[in-house]
C-alpha cells in the first residue's frame, strides 16, 4: 500500500501500479482505543457505550498497562464507527467522567495516533509502496501566493511561460501525462488556490486521483509550541490517492528527501503523507508505538509515569549532562579527532537501557550504571529493540555509500546517503527524547543513566589516549581532539581499536587535521565548546559554529570568512588576515556586492507585533505584513538591512522587493565582516578592538590589499 485516505466511514487504500495507482475501498474498519479503570466503572461504561451511536463495538482485552508490567490487565476495548473519530470520542468520555470518578482512576490508551498510522498498525497493513513514488514539484513565490496570483508558478522546476490560464493548464497537462504520486509543493495553500483558480478559469485540473473527491482540508493553521520553540503549523490538505509534501513545513523532506522519507515510512509505518509533516520525535514515537503494540503494551494517552523518589545524593549525582573538556584556545597543528559513532543509541543498546529494564526487581541490588548504581535487567529492553535495527541499517548504508561511490554510481550513493541521513536524525534525537516531558515512553532515569555511561566512556578514551602519547586539546561528549605529546605516539587507529575493545562501542578516527583553531567565546575568556575551524590532511576545510555555518549569515560575509580562513591557512598570521579583510570591506563600500548576497535569513520566534525589543527580525516581519505577505512565528524572513539605526519597518528591505545596492546599510555589513574576522583571528589572541586598531586610518600597509 502507498496511501490511505478516508471517505465518510470508509477507508480507501491506494496501491501504486506500474501505470499509476489503484484504489481499494474498505468498509469494515473501526479504530480501537482502550480504557482501564475499576471494574465497576468499566462495566458502567460498557453499558453506556454499547448504546452510543458513535461506537461500533465494546469488549474486553487483556494487555500490559506499562512497558515493565509483569501482568496483563483487563481493559475495555472501544471500537469507533468513524475512522478518524477516536480522539473526539475519547475527549467526550474524559470530560464526561471528570468529577464523577477520581482523576487518574480511569485511564485512556491508544488515543492519539494519527489516523493513517493507526489504520496501518491496527490492520497490519504496511504503507510501503510497490515502486518508487513519482514526484511533481509545484512552487510559487511567497508574494504571489499571498496575492493569490498563479502566473509565477513553476511546474516540475520550470517556470511556466505564460499567464495564469496557461499556468493552470500546464499543471493539468503535466498531471495527466506524468500521473505523479507525490505533489511536492512550496506551500500547502497552493492546492486550494489551484483548485479555485482552475474552477474560475474553467480549466479541468483534477489534483485528486478520485474524480468524485477533491482537495480536502484536514486542519486549520495554528501556532504550536513544541520542544520549547514556537512553530507555525500551517493548514494541512489531503488529496485522495496522492501524498502532499509541503517543502516549507517538512523537516524530513528538507533533511532527507524522498528516499530518506520512504525509509522512515518503512520503519515507522507512518504513511508518506503523515511522515512528511511529522517531526523526528513524532516518527520516533511511531516506531515506539509499533514496538509497544507488538509487545501487547498499551500506549498511554497522557504520560503519567513520574520520576521515582530519590535521595538528594542520587539526584545530585544523576542530574548532569555529558562531559566536556574545555578547548585549548588557539591554533593547533597535527590534531586527530576521534569520535564515538552514534554514542547515545549504542549505549542504549549495549547497556540495555530502557524504561522497562532500569531498576528492575529481579536483579535488584546490582549496580550496572557507573556513579549512579542503577540496576539494569538482563531481559532485552524495549528501547534497544526499537534502535538496534536503525543502527544496523545505518552501518549497512554507510558501506553501500562507500561501494556506490567507488563504483561511480552517484544515484545509488545519493539514495543511500538520504536514508542514512534520515536514520542519523532519529538516532540523534532518541536520547533527548528520553528526557522530553511528554515522551510517551520516556523515563528520566534512562536519560540520567545514558549520560553517566557516556561520561565514563569519554574519560576512559582519554586515559587510553594519554597512555598512548597524546594529550587532549578538546573534548565534547562523544569526541576527542588529540595532539601528540611525544615523537612516536601510538597510531590514532591503534588508540581507537583499544578503546573500542575496552568499551564495546566503536571509536573511530573522524579526521586528521593539519591544523585546527579553537575559537574563544565572545568575551574572550575561554574556549567556546562548539566553535572551531581547520583544514584536514586531505585538504578539506571544516567549519563548526562560526558565521559560515549560521543560517542567518549573508552569503557575502560567509564567502569572505571562507577566504579569510584560507588566508590564515597560508600565512598563520592575524595581520595577514586583516590585510585581506580590507579587500572585502572595500568591495562593500564600493557597492560592488549584489544584494542577493547580502540577504539575512531569520526565523521569527514570535508574531512580529509580539517582539518586546525593536529587532531587525521584528521590523522585517512587520514590513512583510504591511506589504501583504504576513509571516507567522516559526517562519523565516529574508531581508537586507537598509538602515540599522532607522525607525520601524524602514530599517530593512525584503527579498521580494528586489532592493538595489544603493539601499544597503554598508556600515551594518561592515560590522558583520569585522565580527566574522574576529572569529578567525581570535584564536590567535586578536579581538575586534585589535582588528580595528590595526585597520585604522594612517596604517597604509593594508593599502596593498586593494586590487
Amino acid at each position: 500500500m502507498f496511501a490511505v485516505d478516508f471517505d465518510g466511514d470508509d477507508v480507501v487504500e491506494w496501491y501504486l501500479t506500474d501505470g499509476g495507482a489503484r484504489p481499494r475501498r474498505v468498509t469494515d474498519y473501526t479504530p480501537v482505543f482502550y480504557v482501564a479503570g475499576p471494574e465497576s466503572v468499566l462495566a458502567a461504561l460498557e453499558r453506556r457505550l454499547s448504546a452510543d451511536p458513535a461506537v461500533a463495538a465494546v469488549g474486553y482485552d487483556r494487555l500490559y498497562p506499562r512497558l515493565d508490567s509483569r501482568e496483563r490487565t483487563e481493559v475495555l476495548r472501544v471500537a469507533v464507527v468513524a475512522p478518524r473519530g477516536v480522539r473526539h470520542l475519547a475527549r467526550r468520555l474524559r470530560d464526561d467522567l471528570l468529577g464523577r470518578v477520581p482523576p487518574g482512576d480511569v485511564r485512556f490508551y491508544n488515543v492519539d495516533l494519527s489516523p493513517g498510522f493507526r489504520y496501518c498498525v491496527q490492520t497490519d497493513t504496511p504503507p510501503i509502496p510497490a515502486r518508487r513514488p513519482r514526484t511533481l514539484r509545484l512552487s510559487l513565490p511567497q508574494k504571489s501566493l499571498a496575492d493569490g496570483d498563479l502566473s509565477a508558478l513553476s511546474v516540475g522546476g520550470d517556470p511556466v511561460d505564460g499567464d495564469e490560464q496557461e499556468c493552470v493548464e500546464a499543471v493539468a497537462t503535466t498531471l495527466a501525462e506524468q500521473d505523479p504520486d507525490v505533489l511536492v509543493v512550496s506551500s500547502a495553500r497552493l492546492l486550494p488556490l489551484l483548485r479555485d483558480r482552475a474552477a474560475a478559469l474553467g480549466v479541468d485540473c483534477p489534483l485528486s486521483r478520485d474524480p468524485e473527491r477533491g482537495v480536502e482540508r484536514l486542519a486549520g493553521e495554528n501556532t504550536v509550541v513544541s520542544y520549547g520553540t514556537v512553530r507555525h503549523s500551517p493548514a494541512r490538505y489531503a488529496v485522495p490517492g496522492r501524498a502532499i509534501v509541503d517543502t516549507g513545513n517538512s523537516f524530513l523532506w528538507a533533511e532527507s528527501r524522498l528516499d530518506g522519507l520512504c525509509y522512515l515510512v518503512e520503519r515507522s509505518w507512518k504513511p508518506l503523507q503523515e511522515a512528511s509533516w511529522a517531526s523526528i520525535g513524532n516518527v520516533l514515537t511511531a516506531m515506539q508505538i509499533r514496538e509497544a503494540m507488538a509487545r501487547g503494551v498499551l500506549v498511554p494517552w497522557n504520560k503519567r509515569r513520574p520520576e521515582t523518589f530519590k535521595s538528594v545524593e542520587t539526584l545530585h549525582a544523576a542530574d548532569r549532562g555529558g562531559f566536556t573538556f574545555d578547548p585549548k584556545v588557539g591554533l593547533h597543528e597535527d590534531v586527530v579527532e576521534l569520535d564515538f559513532a552514534s554514542l547515545y543509541p549504542r549505549i542504549i543498546c549495549e547497556w540495555n537501557i530502557s524504561p522497562d529494564t532500569l531498576g528492575c526487581d529481579c536483579h535488584a541490588g546490582r549496580a550496572d550504571i557507573p556513579e549512579l548504581g542503577y540496576t539494569i535487567c538482563d531481559h532485552r529492553g524495549f528501547l534497544p529493540d526499537v534502535l538496534e535495527p536503525l543502527l544496523t541499517d545505518r552501518q549497512r548504508l554507510k558501506r553501500e555509500i562507500r561501494e556506490a561511490e567507488t563504483g561511480g554510481d552517484e544515484s545509488a550513493a545519493a539514495s543511500a546517503r538520504a536514508k542514512s541521513g534520515a536514520i542519523k536524525w532519529v538516532l540523534v534525537s532518541c536520547f533527548g527524547y528520553q528526557g522530553y516531558r511528554n515522551a510517551k515512553f520516556g523515563r528520566i532515569e534512562c536519560h540520567e543513566a545514558i549520560n553517566a555511561v557516556a561520561r565514563d566512556l569519554l574519560l576512559r578514551a582519554k586515559e587510553t589516549a594519554e597512555a598512548g602519547g597524546w594529550r587532549v586539546v578538546h573534548g565534547i561528549v562523544d569526541s576527542l581532539w588529540l595532539a601528540a605529546t611525544r615523537e612516536d605516539p601510538e597510531s590514532p587507529e591503534a588508540i581507537a581499536a583499544t578503546v573500542t575493545d575496552d568499551c564495546g562501542i566503536p571509536l573511530e578516527v573522524e579526521a586528521t587535521y593539519d591544523w585546527v583553531c579553537f575559537v574563544p567565546t565572545r568575551e574572550m575568556d575561554r574556549g567556546a565548546l562548539t566553535r572551531y575551524f581547520g583544514r584536514t590532511r586531505d585538504g578539506r576545510y571544516v567549519y563548526k559554529g562560526i558565521e559560515i555555518r549560521q543560517r542567518s549569515t549573508p552569503e557575502f560575509v560567509a564567502d569572505a570568512q571562507r577566504d579569510l580562513i584560507a588566508t590564515l591557512d597560508r600565512h598563520r598570521d592575524s595581520a595577514a588576515v586583516c590585510d585581506r579583510l580590507v579587500k572585502h570591506r572595500a568591495r562593500l563600500r564600493r557597492q560592488d556586492v549584489p544584494t542577493d548576497q547580502l540577504f539575512v535569513t531569520s526565523r521569527l520566534s514570535r508574531a512580529p507585533d509580539d517582539y518586546d525589543r525593536n529587532t531587525l527580525v521584528a521590523a522585517a516581519g512587520k514590513r512583510s505584513e504591511s506589504l501583504g505577505v504576513p509571516r507567522e512565528p516559526g517562519q523565516s524572513v529574508r531581508y537586507v538591512v537598509a538602515n540599522e539605526d532607522g525607525r520601524g519597518t524602514d530599517r530593512v528591505r525584503l527579498d521580494f522587493e528586489h532592493p538595489g545596492v544603493d539601499a544597503v546599510d554598508t556600515s551594518y555589513y561592515d560590522r558583520l565582516l569585522i565580527r566574522a574576522t574576529e572569529s578567525v583571528v581570535s584564536p590567535l589572541g586578536w579581538d575586534r578592538t585589535r582588528i580595528r586598531r590595526y585597520l585604522s586610518p594612517g596604517r597604509d600597509a593594508s593599502l596593498s590589499a586593494f586590487d
Binding site: 482523576p103 513520574p306 523518589f309
Partner: protein
C-alpha cells in the same frame, strides 16, 4: 553555608503551610525546608515542579549533609505526573514522616497541554490528598505559590492552607512575615544583618533609643544566640 540558625526561620507546624514568595529565587523555600529538617527526625518527601529541587542549593542551605539524609525528591514535568506523585504519597507517609514539600503546587496544572477542566480536577484532587495527609497524620505540609500570580489555583490553595507565610528577597537576604511569624531575620551567606524588630525582641532595645550602640559590638552576642539554635 555554615551558620544557619533555626531561630531565624519560622517553624512549620502540622497542617498545610502556604509560602507565598516574591522575588526570583526559591531561597525562602530552601531555608524553611532545611531548617525544619534539622529540627525533625524521620523521612521527608519533596514533589518537585519546574526544577526547584536544586541539590546544590539544598546542600548550600543545609547545616550539614546529614540534615538532608531523610529527604526523598521526585520531579514532575507534567500535571499528570505531578498528580501521580501526590497520589503516591499516602502509600509512603506515616505519622513519623517529618515533612512534605510541594513547591509551586499550581505551576504544572496551569500548563496549556492539559485541558482546563481536567487540570482543575487534577489540581483539586492533589490538594485534597495533601490536606487530608496533613490532617490525619499531623504532618507539616509546605506548599508554595508565587506571590502576584492569583488565579483559581492560588485561591484554592489559600483557602486550603492552615497558615500563610510570606517571604521576599531583600538585599540582605530572605525576609519572612506571617500570621505567627514575628521575627524578621536576614541570612546572608556568612554574615548576619538584622532588622530593628529582631533586635528589639532579642535585646530589649527600645526602637527610639540607643540604636547607635546596636552595631558591630553586638555581633558576638547574636552569634552566640545563633549557635544555640532553638
Amino acid at each position: 553555608m555554615g551558620t544557619d540558625t533555626l531561630s531565624a526561620c519560622p517553624r512549620l507546624e502540622p497542617g498545610v503551610t502556604l509560602l507565598r514568595r516574591s522575588g526570583e529565587t526559591p531561597n525562602a523555600l530552601y531555608r524553611l525546608v532545611t531548617a525544619e529538617l534539622a529540627r525533625r527526625q524521620g523521612s521527608a518527601y519533596w514533589v518537585d515542579s519546574r526544577n526547584d529541587a536544586v541539590t546544590h542549593a539544598l546542600y548550600d542551605h543545609a547545616q550539614s549533609r546529614r540534615t538532608l539524609r531523610g529527604l526523598r525528591i521526585a520531579r514532575a514535568f507534567t500535571a499528570y505526573q505531578h498528580h501521580e506523585l501526590v497520589s503516591s504519597l499516602p502509600g509512603r507517609i506515616s505519622s513519623r514522616t517529618s515533612l512534605v514539600v510541594v513547591p509551586r503546587l499550581p505551576a504544572l496544572y496551569r500548563d496549556p497541554d492539559v485541558p482546563d477542566g481536567e487540570a482543575r480536577t487534577l489540581f483539586e484532587a492533589s490538594l485534597t490528598i495533601l490536606d487530608a495527609l496533613a490532617e490525619s497524620l499531623s504532618v507539616p505540609v509546605l506548599v508554595t505559590a508565587r506571590a502576584g500570580t492569583d488565579d483559581v489555583f492560588t485561591d484554592a490553595l489559600t483557602d486550603a492552607a492552615d497558615r500563610t507565610i510570606e517571604s521576599h528577597d531583600t538585599r540582605e537576604g530572605v525576609a519572612f512575615a506571617g500570621d505567627d511569624v514575628q521575627t524578621l531575620v536576614y541570612h546572608h551567606r556568612d554574615y548576619w544583618q538584622t532588622t530593628i524588630p529582631y533586635w528589639v525582641e532579642l535585646l530589649g532595645v527600645a526602637p527610639e533609643e540607643d540604636l547607635a550602640h546596636v552595631g558591630p559590638a553586638s555581633i558576638t552576642t547574636l552569634d552566640a544566640v545563633a549557635m544555640e539554635g532553638c
